[in-house]
Each structure stands twice: as structure tokens, then as C-alpha cells.
Point group: C2
Chain length 422, copies 2
Amino acid sequence: MPKGFSVRPSRVGDLVREFAQFGSLPAGGVSRLCASPTDGEARDRLTKLLQDVGAEVTVDAVGNQFGLFRLTDDDTLAPVMIGSHLDSQPRAGKIDGTLGVMAAVEVGQLLHAAKQQGHGFQRNFYVVNWTNEEGARFRPSLLGSGVFAGHLTEAFALACRDDDGVTLEDALLAIGYRGTDPRPPIPDFYMELHAEQGSRLEGAGLQIGLVTRNWGAAKLDLVFEGEQAHTGPTPMSKRRDALLAASRVIDGLRQLADANPDRLHTSVGRIVVSPNSSNVVPDRVELTAEIRSPDDTFLIEIEKLAQAQFDAVAQATGVTLHRQNRSLRLARTMPETMVDFLEGCSTSLGQQPMRLDTVAGHDALSLIGICPTALVFVPSIGGISHNEAEATDDADMDAGTSLLLEAAFRLCGSSHTTWGMT
Amino acid sequence: MPKGFSVRPSRVGDLVREFAQFGSLPAGGVSRLCASPTDGEARDRLTKLLQDVGAEVTVDAVGNQFGLFRLTDDDTLAPVMIGSHLDSQPRAGKIDGTLGVMAAVEVGQLLHAAKQQGHGFQRNFYVVNWTNEEGARFRPSLLGSGVFAGHLTEAFALACRDDDGVTLEDALLAIGYRGTDPRPPIPDFYMELHAEQGSRLEGAGLQIGLVTRNWGAAKLDLVFEGEQAHTGPTPMSKRRDALLAASRVIDGLRQLADANPDRLHTSVGRIVVSPNSSNVVPDRVELTAEIRSPDDTFLIEIEKLAQAQFDAVAQATGVTLHRQNRSLRLARTMPETMVDFLEGCSTSLGQQPMRLDTVAGHDALSLIGICPTALVFVPSIGGISHNEAEATDDADMDAGTSLLLEAAFRLCGSSHTTWGMT
């Protein structure tokens, strides 16, 4: 960047704190479920924020929100895009996806200012806020970026339902974000800044993580069907208890992870029990199970083992168990030359970047294979995430934003088209 | 009974079917949670039904609904009371408590008719519909009869909250059943007709069961507190997963029952998970566990064993587990002379009564020790209960109602005050 166009200290942190008002919780966190009224308020504020600093805002059919900073009148070259998401888990921290969107706004504003000061660019720049990254209200996760990348259709995404049966389309219509604008072109370069949600950077005393690989993840929606009965007189041997079966599956999945330390994470975070009355043997349970590993072959092997466990539990409890949905994200490596490029930018800023994996999914993963893509981490204090206590120091947010600014400045000024990175 | 005053064939069955319209479900069952709008409609219909056949209807502070048939102007002797409850589980059959209320209405109407034909009685007769027998919407169960019997205070009952935080008092106010009428006197005799909810009568080919004993039951509201975290990057060893702990407790309770066939029933029918999102390790789980046994000493011993299991699970998972509420119903025998009396009435009608236990709780259990109390069972087809498929033949309903009519006729005509049965 030319002199004078550097990230303003704590500007991104201040924006993150400002946006925490949308769905704010008493302990400092946020609950901003995708396409909820509070998500709508946050989106409205983002629109205003972008327009105030010179961007043109559009919304596509699935609610992805784009802010175009015109850095050149020549549209020949594909743009650069940076962003993340404003939706959150039900009781989340304020950092998560908001950091990545606010960093993108700061980068866009500074590039735009540089252009107005006469600097010449060869590409335009987009800020993006992806719809339903979290997969909390609507499943699967990475829905908006998945549609943008062509992995999912618009129709599929809009028809997804929350646990109350509301479709994403109706939820977006209700907040005014079922857009009709055309999607921007696939960018030549997509970058995302995110908190690490782990403790490796903090442990190493470093500010910048360059993600080289994601863990694979299989997410399974399981349905258990037993028989409703009285919890009192019904003989134990006659009960077909869907919650008992689900409990054994939850415990069994954990045991698989415990038997495979460091290369397998499993969890069940969501369970819906019916009729859920203390006096009634439950006849139906739905749950979502996650299996994650850096090794795809091992992941598939474990999924088969888990399925054998499910079958054994079903047999022993007299409960029918079937898999309603399965989404599989394979482990992939991020484009090497893009990591190298960011490493160069980072060291030129005097930073010491560290290469690491991401276990969690991020919108950047949707773009791998579609365009050159990079994911940059900054430290999470205590490794805490999906928790109101989630926190990142302003200085670390600034360091990450500075790296993105440097990279975006170079990329927007360059006519290299593919970098051979896809 | 004098000639001509016998139970009208299928009258009780017809009333049961009529009341199934209040909260009707597609598969023939009902969902009529305590103090819900549909419960209000059913109560309104009961009021009308009682008034049409000559009863005076009153409602006490906790919503218990009474129908007084004045059979004598002399209030010296305590009345006879028969009833049950109109509330249901969330997806229940149409029989359950409704049968007992409708049988009581038929008995009252026939006694009233006998009086109008000149027959002399020495006691008045009450029909009762108790509030919140099920314990489905509000816990504990047997709430209305527990207040009437003096086991619980009105203030305690009215302050009970459902899972949405609504108090029983507000729910009753909303349907117009937060009454202000004085409670009727404790009756000298309370009787209740109920479907067996088991298969012993059906297996023996008999119509009438006389309950001699109830199983004891300990009901525990447990709270598990872990730590909210991301299901992806959070190392397995650092997770404090409240749902994992709850799952192990559910499985452990079942294993206790399996190790003690025929003398121990355990179950968990209700679980509330927070934040309940697929991507988040749950930090809080509430559940209600039930432990039932005919042997109180054994029940307490098992409860201690279960507590040791809970502690071990908490230790192993890093989750805090505490017991929020505990309700204990001891195993008790029904008054022997009352069973003998009903046996005499039953054989005089040409029936073959069978003595048996109740595993489930019923309002009659609240009255044990307070007044002479009896509980009469008729067959449940297939032993099915707390299920939309619950059913009882009209002929069996008529047999049970005939027994209650015979007993009520004799009791209302007698000046014996205590029968030495309490």
C-alpha cells in the first residue's frame, strides 16, 4: 500500500463491537440466527456502512450481500473479494464471522480512498456477507457461499427449513433480503479473515495463521423411531425408547473419538425429542451427528464403524434408525501458491505467519477449486469459540486486516489472472 | 341400585368419544395439556354436561372442577366423591383420565335420578375433574389432587411453570379456571375408575381390577452444566459436553432397570438441551428421570446407586450435575376394607374382580391416608397407554361404571362414617 493508507488502529474492533448490538446478549455475546430480525438489522447497518464509504450494495437470490467498490471502469479482469458472515450460533461470541466482514469493509474503504487519491487499479473489489454460514438455524452450513460456488442450487437453499418449518426463502422475505440482483462474477481471488477458534497461534505467541488444509467433516441427520408408551406400567422389555437409542449413539460416537486422539472429532450438539414429556417413552428423536478428521479415508472408515454401531443400538433397543441427510465435506488443501503469496505479503509487513489447519468449516472452503482462495487466522483468546466469552485482541484484528489490505492492494493492482492456484 | 337405574350401555364410551374432540389428533388421540385452550373447552363442556343433569359446578383456587349432586339436604355426613382428570399427555389416547370423569358423571346422574324418584340418601355426591394429573405441562403430577389432600399448598401449585415459563396460575386465568369457590369437604369415600394401562386384566380375560397397592416412584429433575464450545476445533479432551453426560445417565438408568427385572422401571422421557445447535457443544441439559419400584427400600437403594452413577458420569465428563427437584411417592397399600367392600359390590353384580398393583400414579393415590380411597381398573386393549392407539371396549367401561354406581349407591345411602379404612 502507498504510505498513509494503513489500517486504522482498533477500527475493525470498534465495528465488531458496534455490530454486537444486533442480537446482543447479557454476557457480551450475540444471538443472530440467519435471516432473523436481528440479522436483518445487522444487514441494514452493513448496507449503510458500505454505502457511506462508496460501495454499491446488491443482494442475490439467497440473501448474499455484496458491496462493490469500483476501483476501475474496466471490467475485463475478475474482481477480488473478501468477506465472511454476520449470522451467528444461538449463543455466540461477537467475533466469529463479523470480524471477517468488518475487515473486508476496512480494506474496501482504504482501497477506495487510494483510488480517489489517484492510485490506479486493474480490478474491482467486493465485500461479501454470506448467508447461513453457521448452519444453526438452517442446515447445511455454508449455504450462501455454497450456492455462489455452484455446489448447491438456489432452489435447494431457499427450500431449507428451520426447526419450526420456516423456509429460508420466507425468512429472507420477512427481513427484506430475498434479493433479485444478479450475482457478481466469480472472483479471481477470494480471501477471508477469521478467528482461529483454537489455541495454536496463542500458544506460539504469533498473530497470523495461514490455513493450508481443512479437516473433512461428515454431518449426519439421524432419525430414531420407537413407540410412545407410558413410562410407568409399560414393561421394560416391551419399550422401544427412541431417546435411549439416541443416548447410546451419542455415547458411542464420543468413544470413537476418544479411541482416536488428535485425528478424530465427533459430536452431537442438536437433539429434538418427541413428545418430550417426563411420563412418556419418546417415540421419535432427531439429532445431528458430526464426524471430523484431517484424513478422508479414515473419516469414511469411521463413518462406517459408526453406522455399524447405529445398527447394533437399533437392534438392541427395538428402535428404527435411519439417516435422513448426510453432508460430506472432504479434507482439502488450500492453493499452495496463494498461501505462498500471503506469506510473502505477511513477512513484508514484518509479521511471522504460521501455517495451520482449520477444523471448522468456513465460507472460504466453498470457494476452493472454484477460484484462488485463502483463509487467514488471528488468535482466539483461550481458544474459546461458539461461546459468549469468545475474544480477540484489537491488535490481532488489525494485524490480520493489514495482511488482507496488503494482499488485496497487490491483487487489485495486478493483471495476473489465475496464479495457477485453483 | 333399585331396578331401572342401571348404567346405560355405551353412554360412558359415547361421552369419552365426544370429549376426544377437544384437542383431537389425526390418529384418533388427543393432545389436551393442562390449562391449555383445549383443556378449557373440555372443562366448559363438562360444566354444561353436569349442569344439564342437575349438578352445581364449582372451581377451586387451583382449577379443580367439582359437580355437586345434592342427594340430601342434611350436610352432616361427608360426601362421596368420584372422578379423575381431563388433562392429557402431549400425544395421548382418548381414554385415560376422561373415562373416570365420564363414569362419575353417569353415576351422579343416575343417583340424582334415583333421588328424584323418591329414593332417600344420607350423603351428597361429587364428580371431580382434578387439575394437572399428568405432570406433562406442569410438574409435579397429581397437582390438583395433591393440593386438595393437603400435600401441596395452593401457592406452590399456582407458581409451577411450564417449559415456556408460564405459571399454572396464569394458564388457569387465561382459560377462566383460576377459581375462587371454596373446596368441598374431604369426602368420606373417594373412588376412581381408570384403564389399567397394562395387560394383566386382558391376559386373565377379566373386566374388573381392584388396585391394592401402588408402586413407589422417585422423579428427579437433573441439571447438567458443561461449557459451550465449537464442535469442530475444540480439542475433545477440553470439551465439557452436557449432552454427553446426560446420554450416559440415560443409558445408565436403563441398565439399572435391565439388571432388576420386574421390580424396577426407569425412564427419561423429557430432555431440554441448550443451545441445541448442531455446531455447538451443549452447555446445559435438563432432564426428568423416573425410578419406580413396588419396594420402597429397594427404590431408595437404587436411587443411591443412580446418584453414584451420576457422580461418576459428572467426574468423567467434566460436567456439573445437580438435582433441581425430587418428588418421591412411596409405595402404599390401598385401604383393605375398601377393597373388600368393592369386591363385595362387584361379585354382587356377577363380576369376577381381580386384585392388582398400579405402577402409574393416579389422583386416588393423593387421597390415600386422607380418606377411604379406591381405584378400579378396566382393561386396556393391548396394554397400550400414553399413545393415540389407547383403547378400552365399551362393555368394559360399562362394567367399571356399574361397579362404581353400585358402590356409590350403597355408600351414599349409608351413615357409616369411616369404615376404619384410612
